[in-house]
């Protein structure tokens, strides 16, 4: 019966990567906060790193709880959890606190609660439950539409809160849909929309139109042989052209002023050198000054003197870049990459469809955070203020990501029992 003990069944490789990232984050939070003239140690509660210990400790409690609960619980309660979180999202719109242009916080005395952080795992669970129902075929249109609605609904609610960054996270679940049989065109279209959007900002419109025509010609000439495919390519290109024209409209009328600034600063970080663009410029300077091997732990000048804003949360990557150089950055990227590939591997080995889909959901959400966070610190993506999973300072985000990951590890630990149940 020794083999039945939970300790022998959980995936220790993932847990190891999780611990490495959390501890690495903690050390870097201290480095980002560090002031050579103050003698506050890494455990001091005046430092973010000291407070992060509290979040780390409570995260361990959460992990224990998740591991102790019956694994069937997550399947059974997935819709209820989803419903509750949707309720909170609506409630926060009506009664929430407005912080920095986004209305996404509940404030109950000293306790602050951001429902959108916890909606992420609830949505992943609900989507997994829906898509895994045995009588459903993921490639039929109705199931796909409902699947999209499951994460499209919280996405819309979070956009209404004014938190575009978090809303985009829900969009990452499109990757799950793709894995479960969605037509690849939708994925390509999704990525295409983002790419065309960014290109519209970066490249002159006329050049973009010429490029579009060239791409259309190439596609028709090389790939699309029959009339139906040619029609599809033409329609796609016309839509893309319309999209390019409407980006200007989106920028001025759909996005809020602070989001406009962030997008605009991607094109020209010097446009608002001391505002939003300042973040990106300073972040790139900090990372770029790290060189190959970095300046050494606690030796970074840019982060230490507070040139980079929000450096313990959204811009934590700068500390690594400056102090550990390219080698340290590369190692961090490798660690994240390893985690994602491991999660894909774990998802694929699941016997239950529910657990597999949830696994992909976890991976997609984490991957999206990772990709966007690092892309924005190195100036490849607008600054949309989402944290680096496990690494950034903050209780809500650490808890959210921990719950997300460990529910999957719990399901994975019981993957052999699914057979008995079916």
């Amino acid at each position: 019966m020794r083999d039945n003990l939970l300790v022998y069944k959980v995936d220790w490789l993932t847990i190891g990567l999780y611990l490495a990232l959390v501890l690495g984050g903690w050390l870097n939070i201290y480095a980002a906060d560090f002031d050579p003239d103050q003698n506050a140690g890494i455990f001091s509660l005046t430092m973010s790193s000291g407070r992060q210990i509290i979040w780390m400790g409570t995260a361990i409690v959460l992990i224990t709880l998740i591991m102790l609960l019956d694994y069937k619980f997550y399947h059974t309660l997935s819709y209820i959890l989803y419903g509750v979180m949707i309720f909170f999202l609506i409630a926060v719109l009506l009664f929430g606190e407005e912080v920095a242009g986004s209305k996404s916080w509940f404030e109950l005395g000293a306790f602050k609660f951001q429902p959108s952080e916890f909606t992420k795992f609830a949505t992943a669970l609900a989507l997994a439950r829906f898509l895994s129902a045995t009588n459903r075929k993921t490639d039929d249109l109705k199931s796909q539409v409902i699947g999209f609605l499951i994460f499209g609904f919280p996405l819309a609610l979070v956009i209404l809160q004014g938190d575009l960054g978090t809303a985009m996270v829900f969009g990452s679940l499109i990757l799950v849909m793709f894995r479960e049989g969605m037509h690849p065109v939708i994925l390509i279209a999704g990525i295409g929309i983002v790419a065309v959007f960014l290109l519209t900002l970066l490249v002159n419109q006329t050049i973009l139109f010429i490029g579009l025509v060239v791409v259309m010609m190439l596609l028709i000439g090389l790939v699309a042989k029959n009339p139906r495919k040619i029609a599809m390519v033409v329609v796609g290109c016309v839509l893309a052209a319309g999209f390019i024209v409407s980006v200007d409209f989106i920028l001025t009328d759909v996005l809020k002023p602070h989001q406009q600034k962030r997008v605009m600063s991607l094109i020209n970080p010097n446009a608002d050198p001391l505002g939003i663009g300042w973040n990106v410029t300073q972040s790139k300077i900090a990372i770029g000054s790290g060189g190959l091997t970095g300046k050494g732990y606690l030796e970074g000048t840019q982060t230490k003197f507070d040139f980079v804003p929000e450096q313990t949360t959204d811009f934590i990557f700068c500390t690594i870049g400056e102090e550990q150089g390219w080698i340290g950055s590369f190692l961090l990227i490798t660690a994240f990459c390893g985690l994602f590939l491991r999660l894909v591997f774990l998802a694929e080995r699941q016997k239950s469809v529910f657990a597999r889909i949830y696994g992909y959901g976890v991976m997609s959400i984490l991957f999206f955070h990772f990709a966007v966070n690092i892309a924005m610190t190195i100036g490849l993506f607008p600054v949309i203020g989402i944290p680096l999973p496990f690494f950034s300072y903050g209780g809500s985000s650490l808890w959210g990501f921990t719950i997300l990951l460990f529910i999957f590890l719990k399901l994975d630990a019981h993957r052999m029992q699914v057979l008995q149940r079916l």
Binding site: G291, F336, L341, I378
Partner: protein, 623 residues
């Protein structure tokens, strides 16, 4: 493993590869970022605007700016071995240095914060040359207010650095820590006009703190825009004369131009030297002024409230005539009942009642205003009457702030039906409970400004302009002074003005009599339960084509006939003639002893009828 899983894994790997390559390019290949890190620091240096100037109506400067220097510290760059020499140069002891240094460090080691504030020009000249030897210190020039004359302090208000509390309450998000902001008076009222606009300069500073030049060739720098200047309506000569007359006394003077509502003089006594609340001594001086038992910070002309006393008889007679309960020349027989009275027994009309300040006449006509027999029930009849009366009184600018362009104006108090309902209960009060209103006592309260305004209204025979103290902003006259009318026929003013003229010609106001100028006035001895009565006088002159209206209150100076009437007379003469023809009267006011030659007070007769609840309030008042 499905093919789709492989695609997803490829996406992950491609992303990681793109990041690694991008990072390699900015970290290893490209040297620009390392150079940028060396020259990184962009310092924001605030350029503070000059605050707008303030002049009197004849363009004499009364508020201007004088340079001071804030000594700034950047703790990281300070060489602590210099601390002894720095302390010596700045004439502070070592502990102070350490405290200030630690405080600055706590704020930031690399950002500048204030080390010593507002160093005056002379002291700055002394330390200026040696300061360059000490890294980490630099000076930021600023200006503070300076006042060439010790005048108008309470009307001007003062300026100080914005407090944390005000910063938190600033919904416009204009203010930043370290900004100056107007507190009280004109500085507060016209803050947005006076303050100007901050400028910002961005300087590039390297890691060693050396300024490398302006950021992006100064493209983002903005110049400070100075504040707009303000011209007051105040006549400095009259103002300073009025302040001289009030020296050593407690009280207020307000003088208005009835034709425009412009404030010609505005005295709150005792006052303070406005220079005390500027520059480095502000906090200490403010503390002292606040503890002063004579309250020099109390803005008396618009915040002190007194019962109007006999001045109010002008209002009462006008209302009674308009309500047609007494004719302009109708005579009533008055004896000493039911109120105590200084006026002799006999027949009185409006003119004589004002001249001799008859309490009984006023009691009778106020009774007729309140009880017009519109309801059989005495209580209900009183309600109807009081409501009607209230509406008239509000028209006289009483009971509400007049809307002068100075902050903190009090409304005074006009008791209403609701007020008496609260005190006595609904329908449980009638005329006999409120009759002391007839002679301006009871719950009535007015500000000196309201009384000066009443003078202007009487001078204009039925209208006034909202009083104001600012005439022009940046050379542009402020237009649109609001003309407010009372619904009293012009004809009814004649007997009242005649009475006021007689008061000065041969009545209690004789000390305000001036050769060649027909002054109309009314004295008031304001009953003070806490000590000696207050002396009050309201007047305007000349009767034809009035040029000035004045209200004077001198606290604890006894009868209105003495201190207040004499002061008002001198002011009117000074303003209209430009000189004083009665030096003995000036000496009398300056001496400041207004007590009776025979030190006993007039014996008051207690003849008030028994049913009056307010019997003690109704007497002793009305010369």
């Amino acid at each position: 493993m499905s093919s789709r899983s492989i695609i997803i894994q490829a996406i992950i790997l491609v992303t990681a590869l793109v990041f690694s390559i991008r990072l390699f390019s900015i970290q290893v290949v490209n040297d620009d970022y390392k150079l940028a890190a060396q020259n990184n620091i962009v310092q924001r240096i605030v350029e503070y605007p000059y605050r707008g100037l303030v002049t009197d109506r004849d363009d004499n400067l009364i508020v201007y700016n004088t340079p001071v220097y804030d000594l700034m510290i950047v703790p990281k760059e300070v060489n602590l071995e210099d601390s002894a020499r720095i302390s010596q140069l700045l004439q502070i002891d070592h502990e102070t240095f350490i405290t200030k240094y630690s405080k600055a460090r706590k704020y930031s080691t690399i950002l500048a914060s204030k080390f010593i504030e507002q160093i005056p020009n002379e002291e700055f000249a002394r330390i200026q040359d040696q300061l360059v030897d000490f890294p980490g210190f630099y000076v930021l020039p600023r200006t503070v207010r300076e006042y060439p004359e010790n005048t108008l302090a309470n009307a001007l208000g003062y300026v100080r650095e914005i407090s944390r509390y005000q910063l938190n309450r600033d919904s416009s998000n204009y203010y930043k820590p370290g900004d100056y902001i107007g507190i009280k008076g004109i500085e507060l009222q016209y803050e947005k006009i006076l303050r100007g606009k901050r400028g910002l300069n961005f300087k590039l500073v390297d890691v060693q703190g050396v300024v490398k030049g302006s950021f992006n060739d100064g493209e983002y720098d903005t110049a400070a825009i100075p504040g707009q200047s303000i011209k007051l309506t105040v006549d400095s000569q009259l103002q300073q004369y009025a302040e001289t007359l009030m020296e050593g006394k407690v009280g207020s003077i307000v003088a208005l131009d009835p034709a425009t509502g412009e404030i010609l003089a505005y005295v709150s006594a005792p006052s303070y030297n406005p220079n005390l609340l500027s520059g480095r001594g502000l906090s200490a001086n403010y503390g002292k002024l606040q503890e002063d038992s004579l309250k020099p910070l109390f803005n008396r002309p618009i915040q002190a409230m007194y019962p109007p006393g006999s001045m109010f008889k002008t209002v009462q007679t006008l209302i009674a005539m308009q309500e047609k309960v007494v004719g302009p020349y109708e005579k009533l027989m008055c004896d000493y009942s039911p109120m105590g009275d200084h006026a002799p027994l006999g027949l009185y009309d409006v003119d004589r009642a004002i001249t001799l300040s008859s309490n009984t006449f006023l009691y009778k006509i106020f009774r007729r205003v309140i009880l017009q027999e519109e309801n059989d029930n005495m209580y209900i009849d009183s309600r109807i009457g009081l409501e009607k009366w209230n509406n008239y009184v509000y028209e006289f600018g009483l009971g509400n702030p007049l809307g002068v362009d100075l902050p903190g104006e009090k409304s005074g108090n006009i008791p209403t039906v609701q007020y008496y309902d609260r005190v006595y209960g609904k329908n449980r009060w009638k005329f006999s409970n409120i009759y002391s209103l007839s002679i301006g006592q009871g719950e009535l309260q007015v500000t000196p400004l309201q009384m000066a305004n009443l003078g202007a209204l009487l001078a204009n025979k039925g209208y006034y302009y909202t009083p104001r103290i600012v005439k022009e902003i940046n050379g542009v006259t402020i237009s649109g002074a609001e003309r407010k009318e009372v619904s009293i026929d012009t004809a009814y003013f004649e007997p009242v003005l005649q009475g006021m003229s007689n008061v000065v010609k041969g009545g209690t106001g004789f000390r305000a009599r001036i050769l060649d100028i027909e002054v109309c006035g009314k004295t008031s001895t304001v009953e003070n339960p806490h000590g000696e009565d207050h002396s009050g006088f309201m007047a305007f002159a000349p009767r034809q084509n009035p040029q000035i209206s004045v209200a004077v209150y001198v606290e604890n100076a006894g009868q209105g006939a003495r201190a207040a009437a004499a002061t008002a007379g001198l002011l009117i003469e000074k303003y209209i003639k430009g000189e004083i023809t009665r030096p003995w009267m000036e000496a009398y006011v300056l001496r400041g002893d207004f007590s009776d030659p025979k030190p006993q007070k007039v014996v008051k007769k207690d003849t008030v009828s028994k049913d009056s609840k307010n019997s003690n309030e109704g007497q002793s008042t009305s010369l």
